[in-house]
Symmetry: D2
Subunit: 300 residues, 4 copies
């Protein structure tokens, strides 16, 4: 008989908005929460018996109830609370993984009453993934869709040329990417002090942006390593970073047929290409630490 | 024989990035340009003769060449230049319509050399559509994907109840929408002074945000009208505004089964729904002016 | 005071699946219904009074109730029923527009009991738009996302060359497009016999596919006209057709640097490009008929 | 110093269309190819030296050249050829992973000359991933976006009820999912006979569709296991299957307020929900075999 391997189930993409009021000043949290549970689930796969199955509808309800009862501080803290609940309250459940996306909003400036009007920033989406097995924690946070560009200080030269190589070397090019990053915290046990999750996010984001901006780049790999190393060097709570960086190619347009010199030195015109794109992926680790972030970053 | 009606052709979605350099300080413009040409085009439809057809590949080349030769000031000014070129340089072409999307970037703050590092803001996309027939101009600008929310000061009551009505009245709800707006300038002839396009955009955006924030809303229609009226009242260069506003429903979650009161008055938890959504669309006009923006806003 | 112009409101994208049972044989209809209502709606825009406003939640409920009570035959018939209801049952509502998308499913062949298993075909989406003002009807049906390709019998030559033209002429190219089409029926009054909507759709689709396949193409405009003319010539119930056809470019890859001849005559390798793309749009009319389909096809 | 962990790079999403001609009968292959290379790449990350880096532009060129020189039989065979090339021709490259998506087309029936007109089927996308380290192969094929529905023969009862459970039991519901599946072949060495890749795909697809249709389902987990087991039982070349199955909820609409009984027994009306959705994931293995497909299926 075919064997059942790893399995998990839960409710994905529960969209929750939490408003808190401080008089006429409101605060909002806007999340997308996905829960995956694992445990004694052989029966449901083999006979269809749901005797061990907490419905995914219940995991959804739990997200909403917890948002009300406990509020939402950081996404990491909220995910930890949820994961702990499922593992400790349901005997058949041995492991919970909670993934959360957070959408950022800023206040609309206006001269009316109160402070309860917001506009979505639309920049990157903040992410976290909490995994709990009843004894130890793994927290991997990150972001996606942070699009950045250096309009100079990037080159690409001295590479291997084989029979299929036609690319000319570039001494001054645009370097642009849409950052997908994940970083793993070394916090793993309840008796350790938890990081300040929001500060950690804000600072990590700042370091990777600055490393991107301040690195004279001979290859996107070099830039990636600098971004990761900067985070490891500055954020003691993080042991591992992984990036997946599409090289969003901007090709110099050939304007010579029209008698125009399209030279980077005095500003130039580029075609922003969609596909194909280079894709550069790597992990950067604190010395002595083990890599645990999966090699291929999944959607969340 | 079946008759040929309105027709137009051109190159859509030419992606152009223009870098200008002021020493180590760079400026970038990031556009998506779509051109549609009309004129003496019966033959190409009937016999396939391309004798009157300027290739769409050429319209693409022209976009790049003009970006280099003339630079890109505002999207309106760039679109006007392109539209004029096609109509005045090609006899068979009697009308040109140029649509442009602009993606916004802001500088990355860092302590390195130079100022040539950027992060995409990812908020709304700025739009314009320029139409020229050789004698008069129509400029319709706008924006899309500007997502806003009021966490209170919105109600919905006193509506018609028919046999199929089950909705309870709401005296305190979230009002959220993803603004799609277009506004038409009264500039139409070369002998009129052109508006300051960038100022106009910035101020119009500000007015519609503020009207959204400052209106105590009894219906999204009322808010929409206020947004449009505010623009007409403050921006003399604009005669007509049209909005398409999805009502992004946020439903109060029923937490009573869990012994929790989910009451707006002390902050509440909402389910942010995807579909279906209300869709509120209307035009607001300067008194005495004619409506010309199409009722159903197209993609661009 | 700024003037209120055209306005409409309703519930968009109500997703309804209707199952009917004929013993163990089931039939399904899978629709996405959007309703827009217009009429005496000045007050709601000016003062926020909802006294004339049937809630969009009610239009959603009506869609579900009608699907149960009356079933869903064709999307056209279902839309007509809904539009008639809103205009005739609500005094303030003078016009209703119903847009419907239909997703196609086919049966999964298997050797088990019953016939209630389906797989979505995923090819084109069938569309209709019904407009009713209390006396006359306008029915515009169509489709979107029907992607087609001719791997030969397409050329592009003899076009205008200006200063910005670099495109070489092509005597044998791939012609591919993603058909977005709309066609308007001449049925407009209740005392006229209604077309057989499903037969009309099936045959119209067949004609446009065959015209695409059988036309030796000197330009996509010529192919478009043939597609429209074929429909007008064969389907007496249709007076007007409009197509929006992106020219999905497939560029011959230059393999000469690798000593390979990439010649269409013996089969070739192409790069399928995303953006930019040519965009060819035109209306084809029955002689003597008026064009009423908007020039820029909207999303639905 | 921060340590460099796993890293890989290459060109993603190279879109290649290959036409072959058999007189006036053409055949087409339409692929999206992504290559990831790993090996001696420390230097490029640390110093930016590209001395070991074959440009991603070259991997793109190689895809096109191989499509011409060798043709495209199955995606698996094409991926194997590419992976072998990179590992054996470039000393610093120790591992190649090639991912391919294939889009299906069928012929347009018509009465014209030749057979070179196609319409995209738009159903599922066929996938493969080839990994080669110079000695052994791993081939994981699969599909995505195959949307299926049973309109009956599904129930959900007897589950755990905790404090947050409100879901009523269902004895007759719609079961719908969008299948994302991967299966691993036991072929791993060049001295083994390769499977007939196309037959394997066609049969595996058939088995999973039939298992979906023929299983009376007490839970989506049970259906998933049946789908996997059917493949393992019938396809000796496959040792492991993993599915990620969103439970695309179809909720019975409450029509009682309108005096309508919406009962599954005589056909019913459902709301097809977008989010949240249940997500059921599991691996099914041949007895004695090891699981190697990652737990979270990535985009390709």
């Amino acid at each position: 008989m075919p064997i059942l391997g790893q399995n998990q189930y839960g409710k994905a993409e529960t969209r929750v908005v939490r408003v808190t009021r401080d008089g006429a000043t409101h605060h909002i949290k806007d999340l997308n929460v996905s829960v995956s549970l694992s445990g004694d689930m052989d029966e449901v796969h083999h006979s269809g018996s749901n005797a061990n199955v907490l419905p995914t509808d219940t995991t959804k309800n739990t997200v909403y109830a917890f948002a009300k009862e406990h509020g939402i501080d950081s996404v990491e803290q909220f995910g930890i609370r949820l994961a702990r609940h499922f593992v400790t309250s349901q005997k058949p459940i041995h492991r919970a993984r909670v993934r959360i996306e957070e959408y950022a909003w800023e206040r609309i400036e206006h001269s009316g009453q109160g402070a309860h009007s917001f506009v979505r920033t639309g920049q990157e989406t903040r992410l976290t993934q909490i995994t709990y097995d009843g004894s130890s924690w793994e927290v991997v946070s990150g972001l996606t869709d942070l699009t950045v560009m250096n309009s100079t200080d990037s080159e690409f030269r001295g590479y291997v040329k084989d029979k299929y190589t036609t690319l000319p070397e570039a001494s001054d090019r645009i370097l642009a990417t849409q950052v997908r990053g994940r970083w793993r915290f070394n916090w793993s046990r309840d008796d350790q002090e938890t990081p300040d999750w929001d500060t950690s996010y804000r600072e990590t984001r700042k370091h990777l942006l600055q490393a991107f901006a301040e690195t004279y780049s001979r290859s996107l790999q070099q830039t990636l390593y600098q971004m990761g190393a900067r985070v490891i060097d500055h954020r003691g709570e993080i042991d591992e970073v992984r990036f997946s960086l599409p090289n969003k190619h901007h090709f110099l347009v050939d304007l010579e047929p029209f008698g125009l010199k399209n030279d980077t030195a005095d500003g130039a015109v580029y075609f922003a290409a969609d596909r194909p794109y280079g894709l550069i992926e790597a992990t950067v680790l604190r010395d002595g630490c083990e890599a645990r972030i999966p090699v291929d970053l999944t959607n969340l």
